[in-house]
């Protein structure tokens, strides 16, 4: 995709709004305008300064703070009651993570859950997105987009507790109507996470399929390809970037989720649950564990970049 950048001062549509909207410009204003027109860098700085500062301080700053904190450690107070923050840098938190079986298991469990949610959502979203983009009438298409995105209007907790009422083994909807429920546990957590992040998979796939010209499908059929062959050889290659975009959402959102375990997960725990439990008593360790999903996401994004999917987004 290419975009043309217009030079605001020299472009054909650079009116002098002051002459139309108000009294003749004051001298200082005119001087400021002239100054800005001549100094590109200042202009750029004024435009991008605020958002860039925001990005650096809030976004990168938070990550750097997280990284730094994860390199601190706690030392026992002489009383043995308290621990004091030791700000000399050490890798001991990471060593503890690596050497403790339970932290490795929980990280693994979280990644498996994120992959499961991504795969399930992709499988469910593909036919729906295909129907929305290629089959449904224009009216039906609009209705389906609204229907798919509607759950996003409700809050996370509202949806979580609604699902709790559905899954409750002590007399929830499933138990009362169908006589059986997965109860509170890892299965339920994954079901609800699949539901929660589903729109984030459907919408990119729908957009990707919309861009796919119908003529390609027709050509494929004309050349004798069956539905399966058309799907794998024509649709999929075009759809990969959209799938990658959707999977980034479902994967990362699941990787960072912990509260759904507290609502419907029973005794199930992900990385976030352990971070949450430890942050008040052992902040450096929590920070180190919180770096794990960050690192996994970086690896995931690099892997996707290698497929070339990011360039086509």
């Amino acid at each position: 995709m290419t975009t043309t950048v217009q030079h605001p001062a020299s472009g054909p549509s650079s009116p002098e709004p002051d002459e139309r909207t108000g009294p003749p410009p004051a001298g200082t204003r005119r001087r400021a305008a002239r100054f800005l027109a001549r100094h590109r860098r200042v202009r750029l700085g004024l435009t991008l300064g605020a958002p860039l500062t925001w990005l650096l301080v809030i976004y990168v700053g938070a990550l750097v703070a997280l990284l730094m904190t994860s390199l601190f450690s706690l030392a026992d107070d002489p009383t043995g009651l308290l621990t004091r923050l030791n700000t000399s840098l050490t890798l001991e938190n990471y060593a503890r993570l690596w050497n403790t079986a339970v932290y490795r298991e929980v990280a693994q469990r979280t990644v498996v859950a994120a992959i499961t949610v991504t795969v399930v959502d992709a499988l469910l979203a593909l036919p729906i997105a295909f129907y929305m983009a290629k089959v449904a009438s224009p009216w039906g298409k609009r209705a389906l987009v609204v229907a798919v995105t509607m759950p996003l209007w409700a809050g996370y907790l509202v949806k979580g507790y609604a699902w709790r009422a559905i899954l409750d083994p002590g007399g929830g909807v499933l138990k009362e109507v169908f006589g059986s429920t997965p109860g509170f546990g890892s299965t339920s957590a994954i079901i609800v996470l699949c539901y929660l992040w589903f729109p984030y998979m459907v919408i990119p796939l729908f957009a990707g399929l919309e861009r796919l010209p119908d003529s390609l499908l027709e050509a494929s059929t004309d050349l004798g390809a069956k539905a399966g062959r058309t799907f794998w050889s024509v649709v999929m290659p075009q759809l990969l970037p959209a799938l990658a975009a959707g999977s980034i959402f479902t994967f990362s959102l699941t990787l960072g989720d912990f509260y759904m375990n507290r609502i419907v997960g029973g005794t199930n725990e992900y990385i976030g649950n352990i971070v949450y439990r430890n942050f008040s008593a052992d902040l450096p360790f929590s920070a180190a564990y919180a770096m794990v999903p960050v690192v996994i996401m970086v690896i995931y994004l690099l892997a996707i970049r290698r497929t070339g999917a990011l360039e086509e987004l």
């Binding site: 730094m68 026992d76 929980v106 002590g170 352990i274 008040s280 008593a281 902040l283």
Partner: protein, 400 residues
């Protein structure tokens, strides 16, 4: 060069945030009320009417002119961390966070002359390991109670008399057992083991050497297979019992009261099982850098007054510290329907139910304290497991 400068800037900002602590000044200013007070409390201790019929914060505001903002917390770790921020003037802390806050310099010594009800508070609650330190008083007693066993009377028969109903591998209630999501719960397992496996030699459930600690952790890992859900807040347990997704487990009387008030909920009962129980003894502490120390004292005087003590004790389900409250509590807790406290019937008063005036009963319970490497039971030949390791053991239990 520029990159180094950035790194230095970010680093120093991080350091400033993480190392900033209170200077340790003491809040003893006297004079006019500041018009505001910020209260950190266990759920149920500072009710402002959000539960209809229970409001002792609004009358406090009217009488003293101190506008109260109340923040509740769910665990002692949370209380310790929040109180350390210095944003709160007073906290209702249990023994397992109180001593940490005192040693950390977060609390100011109490000026007893300003605590008007101090003389009326139960003597056996004063000057304990969790409200005084090196001879100075830091905490004003609020109330106390045991961590009880609660069960759903429809689902659990016969009525359990032992903690084995939640710890036994073959418990018939597997999958519907609940337990607090709190590292200090390891002490409950240790207390059970002290009676069921005397060979381990556990004298104090908060003073565990490596071997004893491992046994308690192993018991909890075994228990985890039978747990349906852990509860990390009172409301979560209340809901689980109301919907009967949990039918038996450790509780405070507070949740039992809430479930009993709910007519749609199944009937529940609580008791102290034969092995005894862990317990809490809560005190009010003032922040060493309190911004509103005068209103903080006003609050402590209010919350420890007989009238308010009787209201809190009845609502929460605990023994009040102020024994004058005993003459005020309505018989049998008529406020709440029938009392379901241990051994209660409709004619016993709240104070009798909770043994509020009985020092011998008070002393037999095992109150939450912070475990330290120095064994709290006086043993000097072994090192005990400190709280930090209780915390990581809890990760191991919960995520196993």
């Amino acid at each position: 060069m520029r990159r180094q400068m950035w790194a230095a800037l970010v680093l120093s900002a991080v350091l400033a945030v993480v190392t900033a602590g209170p200077a340790g000044a003491s809040a003893t200013a006297t004079g006019k009320n500041e018009g505001k007070v910020s209260i950190l409390a266990w759920p149920g201790y500072a009710e402002n009417g959000s539960t209809a019929g229970y409001d002792w914060v609004t009358p406090f505001e009217k009488q003293t002119g101190c506008k109260a903002s109340v923040k509740t917390f769910n665990t002692s770790d949370e209380a310790f961390q929040l109180f350390h921020t210095g944003q709160y003037d007073v906290v209702s802390a249990s023994g397992d966070s109180a001593l940490r806050s005192i040693v950390n310099g977060d609390t100011a010594p109490i000026d007893l002359k300003r605590v008007t009800n101090y003389a009326d508070l139960a003597k056996f609650m004063k000057k304990q390991a969790w409200n005084s330190y090196k001879g100075k008083v830091y905490g004003v007693p609020h109330g106390w109670g045991a961590n009880l066993l609660m069960w759903n009377k429809n689902a659990v028969t016969p009525a359990p008399t032992s903690w084995s109903v939640v710890f036994d591998k073959n418990s018939p209630y597997s999958g519907k057992i609940t337990a607090p999501d709190n590292p200090i719960y390891i002490a409950d397992a240790a207390l059970y083991l002290s009676k069921t496996q005397p060979g381990l030699g556990i004298k104090n459930p908060y003073a565990l050497d490596q071997k004893q600690f491992k046994a308690a952790v192993a018991l909890l890992k075994q228990q985890k297979a039978n747990i349906g859900e852990y509860w990390d807040s009172a409301t979560k347990e209340q809901e689980a019992f109301t919907k009967a997704s949990s039918v038996v487990g450790a509780t405070w009387q507070y949740q039992a009261n809430l479930v009993q008030q709910d007519t749609s909920a199944p009937p529940v009962e609580t008791a102290i099982p034969q092995e005894g129980a862990t317990a809490w003894s809560d005190n009010w502490f003032i922040q060493s850098n309190a911004k509103h120390p005068n209103c903080a004292y006003e609050w402590i005087n209010w919350i420890t007054s007989p009238q308010v003590q009787s209201q809190v004790a009845e609502y929460f389900g605990e023994a009040p510290a102020n024994l004058k409250a005993c003459t005020l509590t309505s018989d049998g807790g008529t406020h709440l329907g029938t009392p379901r406290a241990p051994g209660a019937d409709a004619t016993t008063s709240q104070c009798a139910t909770y043994h509020a005036q009985d020092p011998a009963f008070y002393k037999q319970l095992s109150y939450w304290v912070t475990p330290t490497t120095k064994c709290l039971d006086g043993r000097t030949n072994v090192k005990c497991v400190a709280y930090k390791d209780w915390l990581s053991a809890w990760d191991e239990i919960k995520a196993s």
